[in-house]
């Protein structure tokens, strides 16, 4: 970047100078114009390679879907090999490369190439392309006013992101298993954390289903205030209509808008940050890497909405490794790991004020996925 800054004024002087010196200056500036920073070349090459792979994989998945074939879990050597790679370091390197400030003249070309490769819609980008200094900045762009309409139906829950709906359904029984792909599932409590309120709810739900009597108040003295905040409405609502527990998994492709919005009006009571691997998150990875969703680094927000419990987990990947929480700008994700062998417990933060947490409205921006 420093080099480019030096080159451009030199070029400008060369063109402005003209006269007898124009011959020698002209040839020097012509030579300089071919000097593109290494990072940019690497990025362009990577875009080409990713685009080719993207087209190939999309075609294969589309063909499988047309034939009615459901993806099945099938671990392979490539997935095992991924575990040996320093994916977190690669992710941070990728983040550094894409943070390189691009010359203004190059920005539109670069972002148009990205949009072409990953099917992004440039018409809805919030600012003129020249104003995004780096690919990383462009990647997490805002939207133009009015390019999304938030469904205002009070009895509806909206999508927090742009993406592809991979899985959805109802969690039944005490296991509360979410299907990764056909033949392999993971538990919702592993995804959200052992201290999540979710297991208690599922247990209650299971007991309610069986019509058994229960005493949910007996352990309340041992619970923290936010657990009580979540539990109390449940206790109060024993006679009211029953509640089921549902889930939805949405995958964001690289070309998608990468900010996360609030799906409903809710109070965020607690945040959990799990450090972990940064495996790729595409459909191939989902059917070859065991426990993909609970091994990757993620940020979980848990709280309460009018119908009870709600949690949102934002899961990182190799290329999009860090998650930025707008309500907590000091949170840093995708940092070098201190302990490689033993997984660390999640870093948990309870939001103040007690019992209320942070109130969000449907459609409010919550978080952004950053490159690297």
């Amino acid at each position: 970047t420093t080099f480019l800054r030096k080159v451009q004024p030199t070029q400008a002087r060369a063109y402005a100078g003209g006269g007898g010196a124009s011959g020698s200056n002209g040839s020097r500036s012509e030579g300089n114009s071919f000097l593109v920073p290494g990072a940019t070349v690497a990025t362009i090459l990577m875009l080409g390679a990713l685009h080719a792979r993207h087209i190939y994989e999309d075609k294969k998945i589309e063909e499988a879907r047309e034939k009615g074939v459901e993806l099945e879990f099938h671990p392979d050597v490539k997935a095992s090999f991924l575990r040996l790679l320093p994916l977190r370091s690669i992710s941070r390197l990728w983040g550094s490369l894409t943070s390189v400030e691009l010359p203004i003249w190059l920005r539109p070309y670069m972002y148009k190439a990205w949009a072409r490769a990953f099917h992004s819609n440039l018409e809805e980008v919030g600012l003129p392309l020249e104003e995004y200094a780096s690919l990383r900045e462009f990647f997490v762009h805002t939207l133009k006013e009015g390019s999304r309409t938030i469904d205002s139906d009070p009895y509806c829950l909206v999508s927090p992101v742009d993406g592809i709906v991979l899985r959805f359904g109802e969690l039944r029984g005490t296991g509360a298993m979410i299907e990764q792909v056909k033949g392999f599932s993971y538990s919702a409590s592993s995804l959200l954390g052992a201290s999540s309120f979710l297991p208690m709810i599922t247990a209650e739900y299971a007991r309610e289903e069986n019509g058994e009597e229960e005493n949910t108040l007996r352990d309340e003295t041992k619970r923290s205030w936010w657990r009580i905040s979540l539990a109390s409405p449940k206790v109060r609502e024993m006679a009211s209509p029953m509640k089921g527990l549902f889930y939805c998994v949405i995958y964001l492709k690289p070309g998608d808008y990468h900010r996360v919005h609030s799906p409903v009006d809710w109070n965020v009571l607690v945040r959990r940050h799990f450090t972990g691997h940064l495996f790729p998150m595409n459909e191939r990875a989902a059917r070859t890497i065991r426990n993909l969703y609970i091994e990757n680094e993620r940020v979980v927000l848990e709280g309460q909405w009018r119908e009870g419990f709600i949690a949102l987990a934002a899961i990182g990947a190799t290329n999009i490794g860090s998650i930025e929480l707008y309500m907590e700008p000091t949170l840093r994700t995708n940092q070098p790991r201190k302990k490689l062998l033993h997984p660390l417990p999640p870093d948990e933060r309870v939001y103040e004020p007690e019992g209320i947490g942070i109130m969000l409205k449907k459609g409010d921006e919550i978080a952004g996925f950053n490159m690297g």
Partner: protein, 45 residues
């Protein structure tokens, strides 16, 4: 990157007893593209 939502929503008691609960209904299909702000699921009082 991926986002997973886990949430409680109303179900009808009668339907639940039959093992096929759902006051809340998803209005999406698997593999479908969805945009931020579009309805994922709806229910009625």
């Amino acid at each position: 990157s991926t986002v997973v939502l886990v949430f409680q929503a109303p179900i009808s008691k009668a339907a639940s007893e039959k093992g096929n609960s759902s006051e809340f209904k998803f209005c999406v299909k698997r593999g479908e593209r969805i945009r931020m702000g579009e309805a994922l699921g709806k229910w009625h009082e």
